[in-house]
Assembly symmetry: none
Homo-oligomer: 155 residues x 4
């Protein structure tokens, strides 16, 4: 994303009344690297999980189910990833709010307010999210975080 | 199921690069025996229920509705069976967690967190689940358990 | 998968009153290899597609979306894979039947009767399916077939 | 249905202004016998199918999936049974109408206009339907018919 993204930004800076923009974006290659880091964290702990990566439109880029993971986690991991990108925050924030008594959040359409979904951010912009399900929610989040951490090294 | 499940596992261990696996599976014959044991437990107590058995992919193998059971139990029993196999645990665990205040679990996609769904396990692997609905949840679970117990004698 | 699948079948035949069965199963490792072969076929032709692999219960094991693929293909590829495993035949058979005038097939619950979904078989048993969407349906099927062909070499 | 149905009808005739009625009804026992006859017909031909029996409210009484039946047939057999009872006619009538060009029937809410669903009638009243799926549609219907035929001998 060197030259190709530099030029539009330059032009954007020059064009005082620019009406179009560029946004950073995940690629399948990036998603696979993020997922691989999460899978490594899971295997290190002998945990079986589903790992999901969605883009900034909450649409699936990547999903993998490790052997013997409960099949319910396929939908839950997707729900966590979608919720993290749609609400632009870790799903733990929503789970904590519900736990604190804000049950009204349970009505958020299509939301999965369970820890284990983490937004993927680049330069302050959201590019997607990772969702993990299969073990304890805080362990799911630990696996998701290992994947999200990889993004910082990307360019 | 002694020899038959032991040999594949042995061969699996020997095949260093095994990419395919084998897994134990229910048959219709097994499902009918499990359901018959559950029905006997229900009749012994003069209880009318719906009894459902799903496979490891949460797909229906068997369903029967005893006369005079409330028709809402048709969907609830299926929901309990599907939830038990999808979450690989008795649905009572989910009902208890919700009762203890983890309301966020109410958003699990398609889940029925009500006691009365029990996973069916063979050699540590999940082969399906049984779900029962029609009387009190703990009575539903008692009926489901009577069916699940039959699996241990099968081969 | 020679010896390993032969022995259980032999034992099954010997056990006159067998109530449980064994069945071959995909692993994540197998799914990744199948998907990699499909992705290679797509890249060779400069095609961008979504590749989906489901297990024998029509549950997701693996999904990847190549860059710039239309996002509608995420659901379509899943639909094709699910339909192929649920109907135990290539989705082309359904598309052809509809094209020949059997419009009633359009009402099949949840079916996606579009070419590009292919069952994955091991020793005559279905272990899952691959679904591809993104280019012309016959090209989608060509990509799916390249993945399915890898299964024959697995054990 | 000799005495048990005769007396209410007698009383009904005596009560000049009767506002309530009785209706013949399937029992689980009847459903199991109907399904057993269908299963026997299927086994005789080495066919694997899903057999479904619903009551006059289109609600499930009984479902069984024979081993190795495609899992898509679980929903299709239910759809056929529900459609037969809801429309009070064999689903073949709907399939024929669609085949004759009446595509508007494809929009019937929740309908499965595919041969293999047959109403179960007692004394001119509908008491439910049987739906079968798994082989060719006319073979599905043959299996369903074998079950429906059993009803005539019941009393």
């Amino acid at each position: 994303m060197k030259l190709r993204s530099f030029l539009p930004m330059l032009l954007l800076a020059l064009g005082a009344n620019a009406q179009l923009a560029t946004k950073p974006a995940l690629t399948l290659e990036a998603a696979k690297k993020i997922a691989a880091a999460s899978e490594a964290e899971a295997r290190k702990n002998n945990w079986n999980v589903v790992i999901v990566i969605v883009d900034d439109g909450a649409n699936l880029i990547y999903l993998q189910k490790m052997d013997d993971t409960q099949i319910g986690s396929i939908d839950i991991a997707q729900g966590k990833a979608r919720t993290a990108v749609r609400m632009k925050r870790p799903t733990k924030a929503l789970e904590d709010a519900v736990a604190a008594g804000r049950n009204a959040l349970l009505t958020l359409p299509g939301a999965t307010p369970l820890e284990g979904g983490i937004p993927l951010m680049v330069g302050g912009k959201i590019v997607g999210a990772i969702g993990v399900s299969g073990v304890q929610s805080n362990q799911d989040a630990q696996i998701a975080q290992a994947g999200a951490a990889v993004l910082a090294q990307m360019k």
